[in-house]
């Protein structure tokens, strides 16, 4: 009997701990949502020419954005899909129903610059905001893997245009227009999201040397830099960075000013997906194992110390969500904890390793 009660208590404790973990897990998901619009579709009030201006868009442009948003709502699409529609029309027509094409497509018409090739209906349909948006969204809805791809790639796959990254620069404005038309508090969202919708700034201090911690908050230091024996193969290999376990989606920041030189599939000894930043003077930092959609920068982008560049994931050879943080000096990995310590920065949960 006592044993049964004990088992029940144990089960209860497990459920409690489980619920707590569940709450933490949902919190992490919510954090991602604020930085990358997500959730069910929204429907907005249609006006001929809404008052005011959002990021330079006004009047009939906002009315056209509203028509796009509602065309997406009619098809039951998510707010991310709707925002992709607004972003695409910004990149094609500046949210105006253009009665002309361009050099690449003289026959292109309307908000989405759809061609007269039979795939996009009649000219009257291409010139109608709601009908053209509906044709765009019907094509978009066939891309079943679109939630895992960046908005610009989703738009590019529908439009078949010449530059896959063309729409990226309109994403932030599209998020602003959709949130404004949906009646959300734009200022609060902008403040929470930092310089771009998906790129927040670290709350950590930047030292006089210009460095900051690549990760903050609830982080567990799970594996150190150095030679280690693999638990299964027994082989001794160099673990070239420090592992910091955190929940999936936890923000990762640039450790110093620099320029992004890798942002995608790993190379040069790492696995999965990664970001690498060149800080000049032969110093490079690497942020390994985000999921592909957790990479928030592109190669060639300049970043500042503390700017969010990625989200924690578990891609590649990884047994759970964590950041593998690596510092290479003249091509050779060095102990990142000692390196950062010399710059006045402590990684959370670590102390400077003393030579054995």
């Amino acid at each position: 009997m006592r044993r049964v009660i004990l088992a029940l208590l144990l089960a209860l404790a497990c459920v409690l701990v489980g619920s707590l973990t569940l709450v933490l897990y949902i919190d992490a998901q919510d954090h991602q949502a604020t930085c990358n619009v997500d959730g069910p579709g929204v429907r907005v009030a249609l006006a001929a020419a809404p008052e005011g201006e959002v990021n330079g868009y006004s009047g009939v442009q906002l009315a056209n954005a509203a028509a796009i948003i509602n065309a997406g709502a009619d098809l039951g699409l998510s707010v991310r899909d709707q925002t992709i529609g607004v972003m695409t029309a910004m990149g094609e027509s500046g949210l105006e129903v253009l009665d002309r094409g361009d050099r690449a497509g003289p026959d292109s018409r309307g908000l989405f610059q759809q061609r007269a090739n039979g795939a996009w209906g009649t000219e009257a349909q291409r010139m109608d905001p709601t009908t053209s948006a509906t044709m765009f969204f019907r094509r978009l809805a066939t891309l079943t893997d679109r939630t895992t791809q960046p908005p610009t790639i989703v738009a590019h796959r529908v439009q078949g245009n010449a530059d896959p990254y063309h729409y990226e620069r309109y994403w932030r404005d599209a998020v602003a227009v959709v949130t404004a038309l949906a009646g959300e508090d734009l200022e609060a969202i902008a403040a929470a999201a930092g310089p771009s919708p998906c790129s927040a700034l670290s709350a950590g201090a930047v030292t006089a040397q210009g460095w900051t911690s690549p990760i903050l908050g609830s982080v567990r230091y799970s594996s150190a830099f150095g030679m280690r024996t693999h638990p299964i193969t027994g082989a001794r290999t160099l673990h070239a960075g420090a592992d910091l376990a955190a929940v999936d989606g936890h923000p990762i920041y640039a450790a110093a000013d620099g320029i992004v030189v890798i942002a995608g599939p790993s190379s040069g000894g790492n696995t999965g997906y990664m970001v690498a930043i060149d800080h000049g003077g032969g110093v490079q930092t690497r942020y390994v194992h985000p999921w592909p959609n957790g990479i928030l920068v592109r190669v060639g982008e300049t970043v500042t110390a503390g700017q969010q560049v990625a989200r924690v994931g578990s891609s590649g050879n990884s047994t759970g969500p964590h950041l593998h943080f690596e510092v290479r000096v003249n091509g050779t990995p060095v102990d990142p904890i000692a390196f950062l310590a010399a710059q006045g920065v402590a990684l959370p949960g670590t102390r400077v390793a003393q030579p054995a």
Partner: protein, 186 residues
């Protein structure tokens, strides 16, 4: 139905994370990628320097062994690497500026010049949307923002195409990260 499955999944995950179900946090003996021999092998790879082993940190190791770090030298900007950047950009734009090719063949022949990221993102491109058909001038390195990156302008019959190149380290070749068509042709 789907929402129910997701909720059950979340609860299951919570229980696993809470340590209540077996099989959760055990190390996964997943397939370890064999180290791929890359072009970066520089012959005499220096043996690992005597790295002091720090005291074991709390918790379990999170990485499985990775490919050996190349330890290849950091690239430098010199006349040879500028010439290689011009060559790589010209070759890539010549492969890119072929709007009449079937999409699959166009991508196959372009992809040898692309970085892994570009290879992923250029596979959907419809070559018929490209206006340029010919490289009309000598490519010009216009910016060297990092030893790993080059911006190269390539003149075509439809205007100037901007190419962003990247390289992994000193011994590896330049690859194309992005090809930006002239203004208004994207």
């Amino acid at each position: 139905m789907r929402a129910g499955t997701v909720a059950a999944g979340l609860l299951g995950l919570a229980l696993v994370l809470g340590g209540c179900l077996p099989g959760g946090p055990e190390p996964r003996p997943g397939p370890v990628e064999p180290p791929t021999a890359t072009a970066t092998a520089t012959g005499a790879v220096p043996s690992p320097s005597p790295v002091p082993v720090p005291p074991p940190p709390a918790g379990e190791p999170m990485d499985e062994p990775e490919e050996p770090v190349t330890r290849a030298p950091v690239p430098v900007w010199d006349e040879a690497s500028r010439a290689q950047a011009r060559q790589a950009s010209g070759d890539a734009v010549r492969a890119w500026a072929r709007p009449d090719l079937p999409a699959a063949r166009w991508f196959d022949e372009l992809s040898v010049f692309l970085t892994p990221t570009a290879r992923r993102d250029y596979q959907w491109l419809q070559p018929s949307s490209i206006l340029a058909r010919k490289v009309t001038g000598e490519p010009e390195v216009v910016e060297e923002p990092s030893v790993y990156l080059a911006r190269v302008d390539v003149a075509t019959d439809a205007g100037t195409v901007q190419v962003l190149l990247s390289r992994e380290d000193g011994p590896t070749a330049w690859l194309v990260e992005r090809i930006v068509p002239p203004e208004g042709q994207a």
